[in-house]
Symmetry: D2
Subunit: 427 residues, 4 copies
């Protein structure tokens, strides 16, 4: 059973001023070691190498999502379609929605073919302090929370409050990431949006009078993706990070003898990672290894770790993979001839974003934002807003080629090879 705290607790938060906790359950969840671990996983991974202010953790963001949800449930209180008994479920799911994130998730998941959502599930349902706290509400409560986070819950309304094209998660990260990076793009009128949100049977919708505030939110999201999240310098550091992990794996498989053995990675390389193993892997641990590995005898691993830690990143150029298939294969050859291993030093990276979309059955089924008209009917957002319509369904992709220019312009490279490389990459 959840109880109310004797006295409300607050956290000072730079984005929402204060985060208010009134439920013993929420307080206890924040105190679990799995939740405290989020202090050691940064919200934006390597972004602080581009925007130095953005050193905030997922702990920070998770409290923010919870607070937005808390305010939303307060405005819903007493409204048709809103069941007061869903309040705690909504709060719990919002607080825990990111609990499965590992260090530098983006690169980590790609290299190790793992998925933070799977780990979220295990943390909620497995032998953890989080699970211990949750089952005190009810033995079925952990499953209910997991279902909401995994979007498999029958409670579609609460699910949409945490995972939709306008949800507590996105609203917090836009405001928070804008605050910490210092960019002005992520601003929108959160208070107004919360005021115009309404529960319906199976989804949260927005009163039509709030359409412009929602437009502004969608545009903020669009700008944040291209100005911050997909910044080419950040992607350069992610490219290097991926290559470090790839190299360690290859060396392990090749029986290379490490000065600092990657003990924390063994189980993941062997495909037998336990929940305990996973929880140990935070960003401090990763950085510890990277630092030690700067002194490994393997020159590629040592170099990549030096680049990552000391911010000697790869350079980049525009490069469209489909239009330049020949150039790509030629570049690979040239790098090999110049003794710059193309497997580690030549990377094609593509980022794409679909800032908003209508519902497309059978494809990536995103639930569109519905406007609630005065007559009670619903209209999909992009049918009412020119601005949103202009970006709706338009996936935008940016292709970049990453390479260390310092190795290429090196005097030891054959001048002809060097010249051909430079001509292809346009440097």
């Amino acid at each position: 059973m959840n109880k109310e705290l004797k006295e409300e607790k607050v956290f000072k938060d730079p984005v929402h001023r204060y985060i208010h906790v009134r439920d013993q359950l929420i307080w206890d969840l924040i105190g679990t070691k799995e939740f405290q671990r989020l202090r050691r996983v940064r919200q934006l991974g390597t972004t602080s190498l581009t925007f130095h202010g953005a050193e905030h953790s997922r702990f920070n963001h998770s409290l923010g999502v919870y607070e937005i949800m808390r305010r939303l449930t307060t405005t819903f209180s007493g409204k048709v379609h809103w069941r007061e008994e869903d309040r705690l479920l909504a709060l719990t799911a919002s607080l825990l929605h990111d609990i499965g994130h590992g260090p530098f998730s983006h690169s980590f998941e790609k290299v190790f073919d793992t998925d933070h959502e799977e780990w979220t599930r295990k943390i909620i349902l497995g032998k953890t302090e989080v699970n211990q706290v949750l089952i005190q509400v009810d033995p079925t409560y952990p499953q209910a929370v997991a279902d909401v986070i995994e979007k498999t819950s029958a409670n579609k309304l609460v699910t949409s409050m945490i995972s939709s094209q306008i949800d507590a998660d996105r609203m917090d990260y836009l405001l928070r990431d804008a605050y910490y990076t210092g960019v002005s793009y992520g601003q929108f009128d959160l208070e107004r949006i919360l005021r115009v949100m309404r529960p319906t049977e199976d989804q949260v919708v927005v009163k039509a009078s709030g359409m412009h505030a929602v437009e502004d939110y969608i545009m903020s999201r669009y700008q944040m993706y291209w100005q911050v999240y997909f910044h080419p310098v950040t992607r350069s550091s992610e490219v290097i990070l991926s290559k470090i992990l790839k190299r360690v794996k290859a060396l392990t498989e090749g029986n290379y003898s490490f000065k600092q053995e990657p003990i924390h990675f063994h189980s993941i390389f062997s495909g037998e990672m336990t929940l305990q193993d996973y929880l140990r892997l935070d960003e401090s641990v990763m950085q510890f290894y990277f630092q030690c590995w700067q002194e490994e005898t393997d020159p590629i691993l040592a170099d990549l770790c030096d680049r990552f830690l000391n911010r000697r990143l790869f350079d980049y150029a525009e490069f469209h993979p489909k239009e330049r298939i020949y150039d790509w294969s030629r570049l690979t050859q040239l790098f090999a001839q110049a003794n710059i291993d193309p497997d580690y030093y030549l990377v094609m990276d593509s980022s794409s974003d679909l800032p908003y979309d209508v519902y497309r059955p059978g494809e990536d089924e995103r639930i569109p934002i519905q406007l609630l008209l005065p007559d009670g009917s619903l209209k999909e957002l992009s049918s009412q807003s020119d601005v949103v319509d202009s970006i709706s369904g338009k996936k935008r992709t940016d292709h970049k080629l990453y390479f260390p220019i310092d190795l290429i312009i090196n005097d030891q490279i054959d001048p002809q090879i060097k010249s051909e490389i430079r001509s292809i990459i346009g440097w």
Copy 2:
């Protein structure tokens, strides 16, 4: 020789909007590995356990101090007493003033009896990338920079711009720490203070018309100390951190067999730490060890690491050491009888701050803030401001007793011992 960059570079900064770099020297210094290392040392150590927003690094702050100094030198340009050739020295010293900081400096320096200023000197003068960059200006330049930072320089004006009771360092950290914690106390009108600062032969002074802005700055500093820097919860985590280090040292000396040997600490325990050893010790490395040590067989080390990482901090009560000498020794006895090692679990912590002071020859010789009157004469700030006078020279100290209440209220403790402990600490 320093050259101007072909094109100004900027960093987006949430506090100063943009940080502007126009000198090749500054750009190169930022790129050194010693400076990049500051990304892995947080500005406020364990404060983020109290104010979750405050996860920013010393890298962040160092850029900010540099930017304030840059703006200050711009306003000085062309003024009497200001020599344009000091500009670069002022910028360099402001950028590098914190470069010697280790992880969790406060606790670290206390336990290991080391001093970040000594390491700063070594980084600037020793075999480092920073030194390599500096000597390109002039072989005597590293020494000139070190002298300013150490306050031994003959250039008293530049020294006062970086180390006085109103300097670029303090002005940045108040604004920055307020921004990241989210508290409103650290605000003051930086732009106005920069406008009213004037160079004199041996010190930076403030035009009398700006007195109220300076009062406001002094009060901000006063509030930040008691609201943020000396927050009792933060001090609790520092207490635990110190005890972890103390325990590791004791175990090492006692030939305890570690599961995870404290390799990075060996040289410091043996008093033979090299600069290379020191530079390896960042907060990631410390946290790596703390995480591993949660699983050590030594119960004290394992427990303290668990407390630190999972934020199970010590509780606290008011306790004046001089007035309660008897209680202190009695408590020590009682803890020992209850099998709670008082060397690790009973801590007296005192924090004191002297928010402003006039010059007191022979004591801690602080240079007071001088107001420049319209007639050209100087008057010491507290002689003109009632508010500053009220706190001038008044050292304020706060004494707290720290202990883990969970161990004390444990059922296995003899009820009589427990009761006496609780009566002394008033819990």
Copy 3:
């Protein structure tokens, strides 16, 4: 001749922090009575009846435009195509660009068929304190300034800095009106835009790397138009204001005997308004009359003045004039039958905005925003930005019908008439 001030003067400004004045000319212009008069003309006319915070004057805004221009000329300093001798012209024109604005310009100009640009010209070239200050630079200087403001100057670069689709005027009013209303829409990164602006021979352009900042500015403008400037409640008050002026004119022509004769309006009614007459007409004077006229015997004038001053505005409904020609003429009849004079109490108001447009020869010739590519070529903004393209050239118009519902639902109206009116307006 312009001289530099002995000491820089500053104004504290909530939007730009400080406004810096270093030129005697600018200082003297601010001190003229024609410029001080702008304190008595609000920037947003009747908007404060909708957004109570927006009570700021054109004095306020004019200083802001000047400050943005000052920062822009500072970044231009030393760049190709920028002539330092244009600096003062740019500053003067930006400071004075709004000096001809009368009270509640929007309604005033519509009713009296006058034009603030014509008055601006007269103030700069006529017998005024402003003119006296300007001719001290050079006898041809007033004309040069007027030409820039009127967009007839041969100096197209400076003209574009004050009047184009991204100019100092628009940038200040978006930020300022957002600040005073409290809405979040008007935010964009001014500092970044100033950094990426570049002078060319005949126009200010924007470096392509700043495209997203410009997109954000265009979207802010778009949102401010529909959220603030065209707010239906503001338009209601403007409708009433126009009708007051119309009524006074009709009464004057009809030899109505006023309790408070509209002395200040006589010359404008007779088409013989002098510059002195115009300068006397500020918002205080207008409001004085409105207040007195609440007690006139003419019921329409008294009622409209009461509505305006005491915020008893007209109600409104969507109404498309072209699609509902019949309804409009029927409504007019019904109002007349109900003894509610349709000339004063039934108003069709249409607002339209063209948020951005390319160059369309022969039409409203707007100079498009050009992006400066790394290779030195220029590309028009909407050809590079999907978002801007989506709103480019798309005039959006909103049609509303205004009427006082309290008069219509009055018991003294014939129920059948009332019912038909209500059915047409959908109330």
Copy 4:
């Protein structure tokens, strides 16, 4: 009877984000003409002549005080000593507390020996729309509201929420005036202060844990007084304003024949001002007369009006009246000899502020701020806070002499007289 509105109404407010209205009574009061009149009375009178941003009205501030009170009553809800039936009384009194303010109150009340509190009482109890709305709650309700505002109510708790040394009125004006002037001094943590306020039987008190937030508020108040409210330039404009009113009175009594008769002032000159007369006197009306009077034949009136409207203010110098009695009388003689009427052109102005005080029976009986300790006892603030103690009870006074230096340095003045005047005032 008060009813709840069908749907909450909000006002966008730059200081509190939104102002929320849920009660029909509050909504109706805002719509009365007496409340709407506050739009035509500026909050800071002539301050905008010094800080151009500060053009906000008392309407603006009154909504803000109401909103702070609304939030305070929300946090009190359910607490001991708080009676839910006092909520509406607190809201009403906070909304109406300034309703009696006239134009430029400070000068106006001094010259005409009137008092806005008396007019507040008349507006609440007299024949007004406000009174009509209030009696719908209960016939005794207007008196109850008036008693709270006049501090004669038996309900001491509610009275202290609106009039004490830390009340909704002061908290709003500090934040609001700081926002509109753009100074950073007025900031404090409103949300925290509201969280730590507690009702007691006869006063609102503050939990001791919030002491530092209250210190910060007291210091903000102190700074705002000296940086903004008592700014010497603002006082110069007030001095002129007073002299205009004094001159008009003298001319009226002397049967001077006005071009623009001061009709709106007749009743106040004859001591027979009715409520209706008073309500007509807003700042627009005052400024209308000032503008007309620039063209009067009386040179003093015309000159003073020109100075006020066109910001040609008096200059000032430090001058202590008690220490320089001889200089004062000599100056008066000299001005008279120079034909500069000392009754209008030589003014001694003293401003004093008592930023905080303990209770002093028999004197100006201010209720001190009480801190609520964990044991339930109360301690007066200055006994706990060094900083507040340093300014407690210390009245600070600033004396300035005001005069138009342009008239004194005029060539037509006898050089010897001029020289002696300048030597006394030190110019």
